[in-house]
C-alpha cells in the first residue's frame, strides 16, 4: 500500500503547526513506521530547527529540487542517522525519519517567491519522496492561511489535520478550510486544538467544535509555559513524554495509524 500524505494546517500563524508536525512525525517514527517530513512553508521555513538542523548541517533543499538542481533522494536528510543532541532528539537514533527541508537562505526564498512554485514539480517531489524512501507517512508542514501551495498540499493529502486555537477567530478561519477540504474530497479530516487555556473545560471544547464542524477533534492541547520555554529547541513530546501537552499530542497518533 502506498504511503499516506499527512498535511498539518492552520488558519493563523503561530498556532503550533511546526511543533505538532515534528512531534507527531517523530511519535509515528517511534512506532517503527518510515516517516518523512516536508517543510512546504517555503516563505518562512522553521521545522528543521526542531530536528536540530542548522544552516551548516543543511545540505540540499526542496528549493534545489524545485529548481532542478537536486533530486529528492539528495534532499532527504536522515534524522535517524544524524539525531541532534537534544535529550528528546537522541531517541530518534536509528529510526526511519527523513526531513525534506526548505532553504533558509534569503536569496533562495526570494527567488522562489518571485518565480513561484511549479506545482506539478512539487507534487511529483512528494510522490517521489514516498516511493524512493519507502515512506509509510509523509508529513507536510504548511504555511498558514490558504495560499496556493497550501491548497495543493490539502488537495494531495490523505489525512488533513487542522490545528486551531479555541477562539472564534480561529473557528471562523477553520470553517473555510474544512469546507475546502471537503470540496477536495480529503479522505480523512481531523481537527486538533492547541494552546487551550487550562481553565477551560477541554471536553466541552472538543464536543462544541465537533458539533460545529461535524468532524473529529483528536485532542485538546493546553497552552503551556513549559512548552513555550522548551519547544523549538528539541522535540518536546520525546523529551517530556508524560507532560500534559505530550500526552494529548500522542492521542493523535492512533487516528493517523488507523486512517484508511
Amino acid at each position: 500500500m502506498a504511503g499516506k500524505i499527512v498535511s498539518i494546517h492552520s488558519f493563523r500563524g503561530g498556532t503550533g503547526k511546526s511543533n505538532t508536525t515534528a512531534n507527531l512525525a517523530s511519535q509515528v517514527a517511534l512506532t517503527g513506521k518510515r516517516v518523512g517530513v516536508v517543510d512546504t512553508d517555503i516563505q518562512s521555513p522553521g521545522i528543521h530547527v526542531l530536528f536540530g538542523l542548522d544552516e551548516q548541517k543543511m545540505g540540499k533543499t526542496l528549493n534545489d529540487f524545485l529548481h532542478g538542481k537536486a533530486t529528492i533522494r539528495e534532499v532527504g536528510f536522515s534524522v535517524g542517522d544524524n539525531p541532534g543532541d537534544g535529550e528528546g532528539l537522541v531517541k530518534l537514533a536509528g529510526k526511519n525519519l527523513f526531513l525534506f527541508p526548505s532553504s533558509i537562505k534569503g536569496g533562495d526564498i526570494s527567488q522562489i517567491l518571485r518565480e513561484g512554485i511549479d506545482f506539478n514539480m512539487l507534487n511529483e517531489g512528494l510522490q517521489t519522496a514516498i516511493t524512493e524512501f519507502e515512506l509509510d507517512y509523509l508529513f507536510i508542514d504548511t504555511h498558514p492561511g490558504l495560499n496556493e501551495e497550501t491548497l495543493l498540499s490539502i488537495a494531495t493529502s490523505d489525512i488533513l489535520i487542522i490545528i486551531l486555537r479555541p477562539d472564534s477567530q480561529d473557528l471562523q478561519g477553520t470553517s473555510v478550510t474544512v469546507d475546502i477540504a471537503r470540496s477536495l474530497d480529503v479522505p480523512n479530516l481531523f481537527l486538533m486544538v492547541n494552546k487551550a487555556l487550562p481553565k477551560y473545560d477541554f471536553a466541552g471544547i472538543k464536543s462544541d467544535i465537533e458539533k460545529q464542524f461535524q468532524a473529529t477533534v483528536t485532542s485538546v492541547l493546553p497552552l503551556s509555559f513549559d512548552m513555550a520555554e522548551n519547544a523549538s529547541k528539541d522535540l518536546f513530546s520525546l523529551r517530556y513524554p508524560d507532560h500534559e501537552w505530550s500526552v494529548a499530542l500522542k492521542k493523535v497518533v492512533p487516528y493517523i495509524l488507523e486512517a484508511k
Binding site: 491548497l151 488537495a155 494531495t156 472564534s168 470553517s175 475546502i180 470540496s183 477536495l184 473545560d201 466541552g204
Partner: protein, 244 residues
C-alpha cells in the same frame, strides 16, 4: 482608677446609661488591660469567664472558614463591648479576638459582674438599658443580610470585594448573628465562583461562525481557475493512487 478611665467607661455603649456612682462601682470591680498589635485577646472555644469594654484601640473578631482560613467577622473599637453575651448564656467564646493596634480594655470578670448586679440596682438597671439598646442594634445584622440578599439576587456582588464582611457601628459579637453573616458571606462567594465558572463555559459556548462570511470566502477561493485545475488534478491523483 483615674478620671480619664472613668471618662472612657462612661462613653462606652455598655455603660453609658450608668450614673456616675454606678460607673465608679464598676471601675472598682474591674481591671484595665493592655494589648499590643496582633496579640490574641480571646480564643474561640475559651471559657467565657469575663467580658471586655474597649477603652482605646481596635480589635478584630475572627473565625475560620471550612478551609481553615481566617474570616474577619467584625472590627470593633472604643466604646464597644466584647464577650458580654457569653457571660449570660454560659457558653464558650464563639469567636477569637485579636488586637489590631495598641488596645486598652476594661475587663470585668463574670464573678465581679454578677456581684455588681446583685448588690447595685443602679448598675443592673443601667446595664439592662444598655442591653435593650443592643437588641435594637442587632437588627443591623438582619438588615445587612437582607441588603446582601437583594444585591445577590440582582447579580451585584460588589460587597464581596470588601473582604471584611461587616463594620457594625453598634459593635457586637452576637455569636449567632455573626455566624449567620459569615456563612451567608461565604455562600455568596461560592455562588459567585460558580457563576464565574459558568461564564467561562458560556464564553466557550459562544463560538460563533459567521456563515455568510464563511460562504463568501469559500466561494472566493473555489471560483478561481487555479482551484478548478487543482480539484481535477487531485481527483486524478487519488484515482491513480487508489488503483495502485
Amino acid at each position: 482608677m483615674s478620671d480619664a478611665i472613668l471618662q472612657k467607661i462612661r462613653k462606652t455603649e455598655f455603660f453609658k446609661e450608668l450614673s456616675d456612682a454606678a460607673t465608679s462601682a464598676v471601675a472598682e470591680n474591674a481591671s484595665v488591660r493592655h494589648y499590643v498589635p496582633n496579640e490574641t485577646v480571646m480564643r474561640k472555644g475559651d471559657p467565657a469567664d469575663s467580658f471586655f469594654v474597649i477603652l482605646d484601640g481596635h480589635l478584630k473578631i475572627v473565625t475560620t472558614d471550612a478551609k481553615g482560613d481566617e474570616i474577619i467577622i467584625n472590627k470593633v473599637g472604643p466604646g464597644e463591648a466584647i464577650g458580654e453575651l457569653a457571660l449570660v448564656d454560659d457558653r464558650p467564646r464563639s469567636a477569637g479576638v485579636i488586637a489590631l493596634d495598641e488596645v486598652e480594655v476594661l475587663e470585668l470578670t463574670k464573678e465581679a459582674f454578677f456581684k455588681l448586679l446583685e448588690q447595685r440596682l443602679d448598675v443592673s438597671l443601667g446595664i439592662l438599658r444598655g442591653f435593650s439598646n443592643r437588641l435594637r442594634f442587632s437588627t443591623t445584622y438582619i438588615e445587612k443580610v437582607i441588603d446582601w440578599s437583594q444585591k445577590t439576587a440582582a447579580g451585584d456582588y460588589s460587597f464581596l470585594e470588601q473582604t471584611q464582611p461587616i463594620t457594625n457601628p453598634a459593635g457586637s459579637d452576637d455569636a449567632k448573628a455573626a455566624q449567620l453573616l459569615s456563612t451567608f458571606y461565604s455562600m455568596v462567594r461560592k455562588v459567585k465562583e460558580r457563576e464565574d465558572d459558568l461564564k467561562h463555559e458560556l464564553e466557550r459556548l459562544t463560538f460563533e461562525i459567521d456563515q455568510e462570511r464563511r460562504k463568501r470566502e469559500f466561494d472566493e477561493i473555489t471560483s478561481t481557475e487555479f482551484y478548478a485545475n487543482l480539484k481535477e488534478q487531485a481527483k486524478a491523483l487519488r484515482q491513480k493512487r487508489n488503483s495502485k
